[in-house]
Symmetry: C2
C-alpha cells in the first residue's frame, strides 16, 4: 500500500492536508483561498448542523435568512466593527458583464459598492430596528445558517478559508442582564455540543479586550487543544451591549413608557469545527470520525474468492444488515439507485448509514480505503466467519478487533458500541489536553514552555493590549481566554507583578 499520509511527527501541517485528501473531505477550488467541501466532508457539516440546530430550537431560537450583500456604508456605522472587517472583504462593484474589445468586462457600475458579508451584525441590526417597537417584540432570538467571506491571505482548508460556512445567532433583549444570560447560555450550548458530539474537550472562558470581537462589549469562547499543542477557538459568543443597537437604532418603548436601546448578542460556529475535529482525533493512518458525525458508522468488507463463496458471504451479510437496519429498510434500499457500494440507513433521522463494499477490489485495499475515511467500525466477513456465524469487528479508533456472533449484532448493540467509541475518544482527547496545561510563574517560564511542548500555559496576567502584542510578537502566543471556572482567581501578573487574572496562553490556529 502506497503511503499517502505523512506522519504527525514528520510534518504536522502536511499530515493535516494528507488526512483531508485521503478522506476526500475537501479540495481547493479554482478561486484563490476558497474551498470545495466534498460529500464526505459535507456530511460532517450536515451532522453538525442537525445537532446544533436542534439545540438552538430547544433554547427558543428560530432560523431566518438575511442578504448576502451589505451596503458599504453599513460597515462604517459601528466604529470598531469597520476596522475589524473592512480590510479583507469581497467587494461587488458591478451588476453585469458586457462584451468589450477584449471579451467580457464588468458593466453596470453600482452607485455604492456592496460587501459580501463577513458577518451580519450590521444588516441584521438594520432589520431589527424595523421589527422592534415595543418591549413586547422582545426578545428576538434568530439564527442564520449561511456562507460568509473574509479575504484571508494565508489559507488552510477548513481552518481559514476566504469563504466558509457558519451559523450566526443574533438576539435582541430588553435588559443588559438578559443579553448576558443569553451570551452565556449559547456558550454553554457550544461547550456541550463540542464535547458531546465532536468529542473535543473545550475550555469556556472570556476573551481579553485585545482579543474580543470588533464591536462587542464582552466576547466569550470555547477553546480546544490540537495534537500539535496549538489551541483552536471552536466557537464564540458575544455580548454586544448597546453598541450595535445605537449604531443601527434598535429602540423600543419600555415597560416604563420610555424609549430605550435594545441589548444585543451574537454567537457563531463555522466549518472550522471540521478542522478541529480532524486535528483533535485523527492519527497517522488518517481520519478518525467521532461516531455522532460519521455518515457511515459501519463499512462491511466481504471476503471471497469463488462465486460460491461470494454467494455464501452475501447471504450472511444480508442477515447482518437486516439485523442492523431492519427488514423494511433493507427492502427499501433494494429499489434505490446504488453503485457498487450498497448503503442502508441505520438511522432515518440522522441519515447515518451502514455500507457494504462490493467493489471489484482486493479486501486489503478496501480496508485501507475505509480506514482512511475514519469510519468507526469495519466488519470483515469471509467464508470462515460465515461458518462460525460471526463477524470480525475492527474498531477504527484503536484497531481493537473482536469476534462478534451474528445474534449479538443488533441495532442496539451497535448503538452501545458507538457510544463507547465516543466516550473513549473524548477521554483520550481530554487526557491529552489536561496533560498539556502547564503553569508558569514568570514570563521566562511561559517562553520556555511555549518553545518546548506548547499546549496551554496557565498564569496570572493583568490585561494590557500593548503587552499582549509584545508577547504575541515574541512567542506567537495569545491569551486564549480567562477560564470561566476560575474567573474570580487573582494573583501576581507574570509581566507587571500587579494583580492579574488567571489566564491561558497558547499559540493558536
Amino acid at each position: 500500500m502506497a503511503k499517502n499520509i505523512k506522519t504527525r511527527a514528520e510534518d504536522y501541517a502536511q499530515w493535516y492536508l494528507d488526512v483531508i485528501k485521503a478522506a476526500q473531505l475537501a479540495d481547493y477550488s479554482p478561486v484563490r483561498g476558497c474551498m470545495v467541501i466534498r460529500p464526505e466532508g459535507f456530511a460532517v457539516w450536515e451532522a453538525i448542523q442537525r445537532d446544533l440546530d436542534r439545540r438552538f430550537k430547544e433554547t427558543g431560537h428560530v432560523n431566518a435568512y438575511f442578504p448576502l450583500l451589505i451596503p458599504q456604508s453599513f460597515l462604517t456605522k459601528e466604529a470598531q466593527h469597520v476596522e475589524g472587517f473592512a480590510m479583507e472583504c469581497a467587494v461587488v462593484t458591478h451588476s453585469k458583464l458586457e462584451h468589450g474589445a477584449h471579451g467580457l468586462k464588468p458593466g453596470g457600475e453600482l452607485e455604492e459598492p456592496l460587501i459580501v458579508r463577513p458577518t451580519s451584525e450590521t444588516v441584521i441590526g438594520h432589520m431589527y430596528a424595523q421589527w422592534v417597537q415595543s418591549y413586547r417584540d422582545l426578545p428576538v432570538l434568530i439564527n442564520q445558517w449561511c456562507n460568509v467571506m473574509r479575504w484571508e491571505l494565508r489559507t488552510r482548508l477548513f481552518l481559514r478559508t476566504a469563504e466558509f460556512l457558519w451559523q450566526e445567532g443574533h438576539t435582541a433583549h430588553e435588559t443588559e442582564q438578559e443579553a448576558e444570560a443569553e451570551t452565556l447560555r449559547m456558550l454553554e450550548v457550544y461547550r456541550a455540543f463540542a464535547e458531546d458530539v465532536l468529542a473535543i474537550p473545550v475550555i469556556k472562558g472570556r476573551k481579553t479586550e485585545a482579543e474580543k470581537f470588533p464591536g462587542a462589549v464582552k466576547t466569550y469562547a470555547i477553546e480546544g487543544l490540537m495534537q500539535d499543542g496549538k489551541a483552536l477557538q471552536c466557537g464564540t459568543s458575544h455580548n454586544l451591549g448597546q453598541n450595535f443597537a445605537k449604531a443601527f437604532d434598535i429602540k423600543f418603548l419600555g415597560r416604563d413608557n420610555k424609549i430605550v436601546h435594545a441589548w444585543t448578542t451574537s454567537w457563531g460556529v463555522s466549518t472550522r469545527l471540521i478542522g478541529a475535529m480532524i486535528m483533535a482525533h485523527s492519527d497517522d493512518d488518517g481520519l478518525v470520525l467521532p461516531p455522532r458525525v460519521a455518515q457511515n458508522v459501519v463499512a462491511i468488507v466481504p471476503i471471497f474468492k469463488t462465486d460460491e463463496e461470494r454467494a455464501k458471504v452475501a447471504a450472511f451479510v444480508e442477515k447482518v444488515v437486516r439485523s442492523l437496519v431492519g427488514d423494511e429498510e433493507f427492502e427499501a434500499a433494494r429499489t434505490r439507485q446504488q453503485g457498487e457500494v450498497a448503503s442502508y440507513f441505520f438511522d432515518k433521522i440522522t441519515h447515518q448509514r451502514v455500507i457494504v463494499d462490493w467493489r471489484d477490489a482486493r479486501p486489503g485495499d478496501k480496508q485501507f480505503h475505509w480506514e482512511q475515511r475514519g469510519i468507526p467500525f469495519r466488519f470483515e466477513i469471509g467464508p470462515k466467519d460465515v461458518e462460525g456465524g460471526s463477524i470480525m469487528v475492527k474498531r477504527r479508533l484503536d484497531r481493537a478487533k473482536e469476534v462478534v456472533k451474528l445474534e449479538k449484532m443488533t441495532a442496539q448493540h451497535l448503538r452501545t458500541e458507538l457510544a463507547g467509541v465516543h466516550q473513549l475518544m473524548f477521554e483520550k482527547a481530554k487526557k491529552f489536553r489536561d496533560e498539556n496545561i502547564r503553569d508558569a510563574g514568570s514570563y521566562e517560564e511561559l517562553k520556555t514552555i511555549l518553545a518546548g511542548k506548547g499546549g496551554f500555559v496557565r498564569c496570572f496576567f493583568k490585561q494590557d493590549k500593548s503587552v499582549e502584542a509584545r508577547i504575541k510578537e515574541e512567542t506567537k502566543a495569545t491569551v486564549r481566554c480567562i477560564p470561566s471556572d476560575t474567573a474570580e482567581k487573582r494573583g501576581k501578573c507574570i509581566i507587571s507583578g500587579e494583580e492579574g487574572q488567571q489566564v491561558l496562553f497558547a499559540v493558536a490556529y
Copy 2:
C-alpha cells in the same frame, strides 16, 4: 379589525404582498432586489429542505458545497450559457476597502473579476473534471443547497429576487441513457414533492428549444397554476448532454478502454416554491399553509375574563397539550426559554409545534393574528368548553368549526386531520387547475382565452423560436411545456398548419 389585506379581486399583486406582510414571511432588504426571509417564511423553506433532502438521499444523492464566486472566464466556456447568465450578475472586482479622501473605497483590485454564482454548472464541471478519471468514478450524484444571485430588474418577493436560496443537483454519468433517466427521475421527485408536500398539482413536461436552460440539450419542468390564471414554473431538470463535459473536460476511461466525455444533468428548485405555495392556496384572509410545511400546526387561544377562569382554562389547555405532544415534551418545554406564546414540539423530527397564545390581548385579535399566518387549526378554549370537556376546533382552510371532546384529541387524531386538510387543499387546487385548461383550435382562440380567463391553453404547435417570440410579444404567453403524458400526440399547428406537438401555453410568472 383594520383590513390589512386587499382582496384578490381588488388587486391580485397587492394581495400577494399583503399576505406576505401580514404573515411576516419576508421583507425587502436595504440592498435593492434582495429579500430578508423572516422566521415564519424560513420555517417553510426548512420544511421544504428537510423533505426534499430526504428524497434526494433516498435516490442515492449526497450533498456538497462549491464556492460562491466563479471566475469570469469560466462563464464563457459554454457558449449558450454565458449569453444566458452574463447579463445580470453581481461582479466582485476588489478584495478590500481602503480609507480614501471621501471615506472608504474599494481597494486590492483583482486580476480577474469574479461572479457571484447565478448557477454552478461551470465551477462544478471544473471540479468533476478532476474527480472523474474512470467509469468506476461514475455516476457522480451531488446536490448543493446554497444562495445564488441574478441581478433581476423587476423583483417580487420569493418569485423573483436578486438573491435567492435553492438547491442545485449536478450529476455525471457514463451513458446518455443514464443521464436521461436521472433527468426524468428528478423531475418525478419534484412532481411528487410539489403535490404531496405543498399540495400544488403540477404538470410535468418538456420545454421548447426557445425556453430551455442555456447550455442544456433538454429541459423538463413542473408547471403549476396560480389563482390568477398565470402559470408558475416550480422546478426544472436539465439533460445537459455532453455540452458542459466538453466545455470543462470531464472525461473518463470507459469500459472499452476509450476516453470519452461524461453525460451530465442539473436540476433545481428554489425559494420561489414559497411564492407558488402562497399564490396557490391563500385566500382573502391571508396565508393558508399546507400542513406538511406548517411550523405551527395548532394555535390554541385560551379565553377567560377572571383569574379563576384563567386557572381553569389553563388546566384544561395543559390536558390538551399533554394529549397532543406527550408528557415528556410537555415537561421539557417548561424548562425552555419561552415568550408569552408557549410552544411545544408536536413532531421532534420535523420540528412542527403546537403553540398556546397567552399574550395579553383580546381573543378576537389573537384569532385574527393566527388566521393571517395560515396555521391549519386554531383551538378556542373558554370556560364553557372546559365545562363541556371539549375544544372548539377551527379549520383555517374553509373556516369549518367542530366541537371535539378532549378524549378524542390525540396526536393520532391530529395527524389524521392534518392529512385530511392536505388532501382537501390538493383537490381544491387540482379542481381549479383542471377547470382552467382550455383547448384552442386556432391562434385567434388562443388569444381570446388568454385575454379572458387565462389559465393553460392546450393546442397543437410546431416549435419555432421566432413564432414563439411573436406570440409572447402579442399575448405575453409562452409555451409552458410539452406535457409528458401526451408527448406522443400530434396535430395541426395553430400557427403554421403543419404537424405539431400538443403544448400548453400560458402567461407565466
